[in-house]
Amino acid sequence: MGLLKNWKIHLLCLLITLVAEGIGIQKFGIVVFLPLLYSLVIGLVISIPKLKIVTEEQMVAATDYLNISIMILMTKIGLGIGPNLHIIMNSGWALILQELGHFFGTIVLGLPIALLVGMRREAVGACYSIDREANVAIIIDRYGFHSPEGRGVMGMYICGTLFGAMWISVLAGMIAQLGWFHPIALAMGAGIGSASMMAAATGSIVAVHPEFEREIMAMAGAANLLTSVVGVYFSLFVSLPIMERLYGFCARVLRHDSEEVR
């Protein structure tokens, strides 16, 4: 079955990793750049179809390899949780309640911006959750792929895939440098429920607060586990109905066409 037929992808991965780690962590003012950011950007540039360095088939294989190699990272995170179970138990309420921040934060910040740029029902799909695979399936199932909501969720999914990790890596680094939040609170915020975004956020927080590395990893891992297990059900049964009503209300206030106010 030609397991090593995509050796080119692995070789490129090795070269990119060595270059990215060679550059190392760089800080410019409050902005922190991590090796993971360089490797993502270098990989993206190399895979630009016009350059013809990697084929479409190899890019599909790279997605498989991403899903496999990320399990090494998830194991590393998991191994950080066991020795720190006591801190996690002591922070039980914070861990549970901060999930509300994860689930409603997308709407709180996303919906006003969506209305501001003139988005209509697309906003329902784009802002009701972080829009990873399971959340996309929920919207497609309820509204259909070609509906405005379907366009919104797909647009958000593509954007999240393309620059979610880059954006969250830079943003988490800046917010950590501002010093408004305790590293443990930031770590819980990093438990976004998307493995690559969680890794990017956690990496930046660790780079700013290396003395808290163990606690940050344990908390981010615990929060991420909670978000990924509860997230799908929460987005289906709570976030989406609330999003619908909230959008309906906003559309009436903004006097959008009556047909759009379902």
């Binding site: 992808i9 191994l79 066991g82 956690t202």
Partner: protein
């Protein structure tokens, strides 16, 4: 999009094993570039991580375990094997400590980057409007959760 759906279970497991070994070697190579780690211990640490990841992956393919994603089973296995008192946990956490968290992220995002070229076409067809919204949605989930955590951790007296 993935080729996974057309593969048999046996092919999936073999692919996982081969790729996880390659990824472990690449991670170990990247881990030594901070100047604080040697290749030997890094490689052992990476193979320990890869071994647990593989066991978790196989677990996730078992009937009855498929209801939850692979990420969940791999994470839970990691948690259990690191609880003090569990046989082998001392040795496992000690080996894994040779590999930094940041070193495990770099190859993963290199693979991610190399897969992104195929999504550029779809991105070009989107309206510009989705970009600020996407940034706000991702920022919102992170900042709001950190904010709630900050307040409640303070109440709980943890920070």
């Amino acid at each position: 999009m993935s080729t996974e759906k057309t593969m048999t279970l046996q092919e999936k497991i073999i692919q996982f094993l081969v790729v996880v070994i390659i990824a472990a070697v690449i991670t170990a190579a990247g881990n030594i570039l901070d100047g604080k780690h040697a290749f030997g211990p890094s490689l052992v640490g990476c193979f320990v991580l890869a071994g647990i990841a593989f066991a978790g992956a196989v677990l996730s393919y078992l009937p009855g375990f498929k209801k939850l994603p692979m990420v969940f089973w791999v994470s839970i296995l990691g948690v259990i094997l690191s609880i003090p008192g569990v046989p082998g946990s001392d040795w496992i956490t000690k080996q894994a400590a040779e590999v930094t968290f940041l070193a495990t992220t770099t190859p993963v995002l290199a693979y991610a980057g190399l897969s992104l070229g195929k999504d550029l076409g779809a991105f070009k067809q989107l309206s510009w409007r989705i970009v600020p919204v996407a940034l706000a949605v991702a920022a919102g989930t992170f900042v709001c959760a950190a904010l709630v955590a900050q307040v409640v951790l303070h109440w709980e007296g943890v920070i």
